[in-house]
Point group: C2
Chain length 421, copies 2
């Protein structure tokens, strides 16, 4: 039996106990795990130092190294965000629907845990604690496979979580970490993706390649997350200053995140007014620009460098200081372009026209659609959902930021006195 299947089996068994664990027990397990993480700070930082040394030796890029790094302050942040999840209201046992059927059967639809949540992620070791907390809050066991580069850090955190769970009187097997290092790591991940009957959902969190590999290869249900080819569309009636602020924020505030904008659309009829200040502000912040012919001629007149955009650019998530610029004939063409090239993550219009705003909100097919605001707000914390296990860009089960509620399913309970059909 592979390690992944063995651990998924143990998680599946632990899930049977978690199914009937109380609100208090589940919160308590997270709080005790947070305490254990804090107590283990030295051990976690030491394990991380080992991961960091290997990563540096293997030439990991600076931004990835920064994601991998844990110091005392960051471990404290991890514990704090665990306690925030512990304090969230219970997502379980909510009655969504209740009625008495014609036969006299009393029916209730209540929220219950999914069972076993598998999570595959990359170099950020804090995801280990986030995923554990949200899974435990919602009564789920978790099987975690972090990036191989972060293995020792993840293992130290998972150990502490396990301790907390056991101290709360729940099965430590509710937290499973799969060794992703070495040759075997890949085979184990494949086994996890195909553990039907043991894994209720697989959530990949990371780059587009990781996510697409899960979507293509998994036979267990997958929730696609995070790929964000987001647009800002400047309607002809946009306030020019707001157009600059929203575009610059959406593109440059944190360009490596999935809710950052990659592409700027602008109404052709107003492009000569709206584009120049926006392009100047972007260029000033070091954003590389590519665009269609109309945009390039405006940029050229201004002396702002802009390469020629290819068909591929419209569909590319740069995750960097680069942006494509495309002129459109109006809101309908903007919606069509976004629905064709976007990834259904976050899309924004800047406009002062009521009808255009409502048409954009209704017509764009995405998890979050904004009027006169930056796409950067799409986030579980900002939306008030508590922590976030990922941002779903698919439509099934959960769409947009996923908190603990997204890790629940429902069950119909029917109480009768001998009813038959």
């Amino acid at each position: 039996m592979s390690e992944a299947v063995e651990k998924a089996t143990r998680a599946h068994e632990a899930a049977a106990t978690l199914r009937t664990a109380s609100d208090h027990q589940r919160s308590d397990a997270i709080r005790r795990a947070a305490d254990a993480v804090e107590r283990a700070t030295d051990r976690i930082v030491e394990a991380n130092a080992g991961d960091m040394a290997r990563a540096r030796a293997e030439g990991m890029s600076e931004p990835l190294q920064d994601r991998l790094l844990l110091d005392e302050r960051r471990v404290g942040d991890i514990a704090r965000s665990m306690r925030e999840v512990a304090a969230q209201p219970d997502p379980l046992g909510r009655v969504l629907l209740g009625r008495t059927l014609a036969s006299g059967l009393r029916m209730e639809q209540v929220t219950v845990p999914l069972g076993v949540v598998a999570m595959v992620y990359e170099a950020r070791p804090n995801v280990t604690a986030d995923a554990f907390s949200l899974c435990m809050r919602s009564g789920n066991a978790c099987v975690l496979r972090g990036g191989s580069a972060a293995h020792d850090s993840c293992a130290a955190i998972a150990d502490a979580c396990r301790q907390g769970v056991e101290q709360a009187g729940l099965p430590g097997d509710a937290v499973q970490l799969i060794d992703a290092t070495g040759e075997r790591g890949h085979a184990e991940t494949e086994a996890l993706m195909r553990a039907n009957g043991l894994v209720d959902v697989l959530i990949p969190r990371g780059g587009a390649r990781l996510i697409q590999s899960c979507v293509r290869n998994a036979t267990v249900p997958v929730i696609e997350t995070g790929t964000g080819n987001c647009h800002v569309y400047l309607h002809a009636t946009a306030d020019p200053l707001m157009a600059v602020n929203v575009t610059v924020n959406a593109k440059t505030q944190r360009p490596g995140t999935c809710n950052s904008a990659e592409s700027l659309l602008v109404d052709l009829e107003a492009a000569d007014v709206l584009l120049p200040p926006v392009l100047a502000a972007l260029a000033e912040r070091g954003v590389e620009l590519v665009g269609d012919e109309a945009a390039r001629s405006i940029a050229a007149a201004q002396g702002v460098p802009m390469g020629a955009a290819t068909e591929q650019d419209w569909g590319t998530e740069y995750l960097a200081l680069k942006m494509s610029v495309h002129c459109v004939s109006g809101v309908d063409e903007a919606i069509a372009h976004i629905n064709r090239y976007g990834t259904g993550h976050s899309e924004a219009i800047v406009t002062s026209d009521y009808a255009a705003a409502e048409r954009f909100l209704a017509g764009v097919d995405a998890a979050a659609v904004y009027v006169n605001a930056s796409t950067r707000f799409t986030d579980g914390g900002v939306f008030g959902l508590g922590g976030e296990i990922g941002i779903s860009t698919q439509k099934l089960h959960a769409r947009g930021p996923m908190g603990a509620e997204a890790l629940t399913t429902t069950k119909y309970l029917l109480r009768g006195n001998g009813q038959v059909r």
Copy 2:
């Protein structure tokens, strides 16, 4: 381009129009389609006669022939159930959540269509009309692949649906039927399962082989439906008469349906009292019995024939007048057995003990859990959900009977006045 991909592309384009179609337009399309179905009764019955003749020549079994058959009355039933779906309240545009974020952004989470729903089913041509109606009610385009034996019947119904949609001023491309006949049928189905970006969800409806093939081979999101290895558990405190009524109803009222019971569990301590009348009633109705040693010795003492159950029996959905019988030590063993061998469909306990009832409701991991009632009630119509496109036995997105609401997703709308992060 394969036929499936071409038709999914057209459905995807039609879905963009449906996304903003009004409640009235979508209901109207279904009502006009129902009228068109009625007007086409002769043509549908004639097409069905051709399918029936081929099915008989190819030796299709009597029960399957009955599922395939359409006469004037059954076409009338199809139109009536379409009108019932048209009369359902609009599942779209419901605001599930609304708040103002710290930044002043006003956030709403509203229900919206999934987009394109693909459905793969077998010999029942009426599923064509059911699937179309529920998809149209919820603003979705549909790509339907019925069984090859029912092709001409399905095509005649789909033609009428398309007419109705066009008469309502919506794109006829919202209804697509894929030719499932001949060699190419299999390849087309495979192409449909892998049409990522065009198909938002695939719902297989039919036998376990069809469903497992979709789960294993599809790369688009799938909702598993319908496999039902359901149990009736007789707790030691069960009322003996109720035990007989519930078991007989759950097993024999319509043994070919997924919500029928396949396995009987009974507390060992009361088996000599509870089992004899139940076994006698089952045997009288021609139910073939297999059981464990304890059950067999009780059956033998009574002169009721009971074969030896194998491990495989516990996991088998007979869909026939056959039932396995297993003695357990109490409610916890019953729950563990059900969670191990069941398919998460419908499970029932018969008991007069409050604690046992609540423990069973909480501990069993299934879409519908019954106390003192037959498993046969699990049905979208009976649950008051309107029509039903299938019964989900997975936990993601929808669990249990799926009506039009299960064919929606959500979208966050955020209205601001220039907010940036």
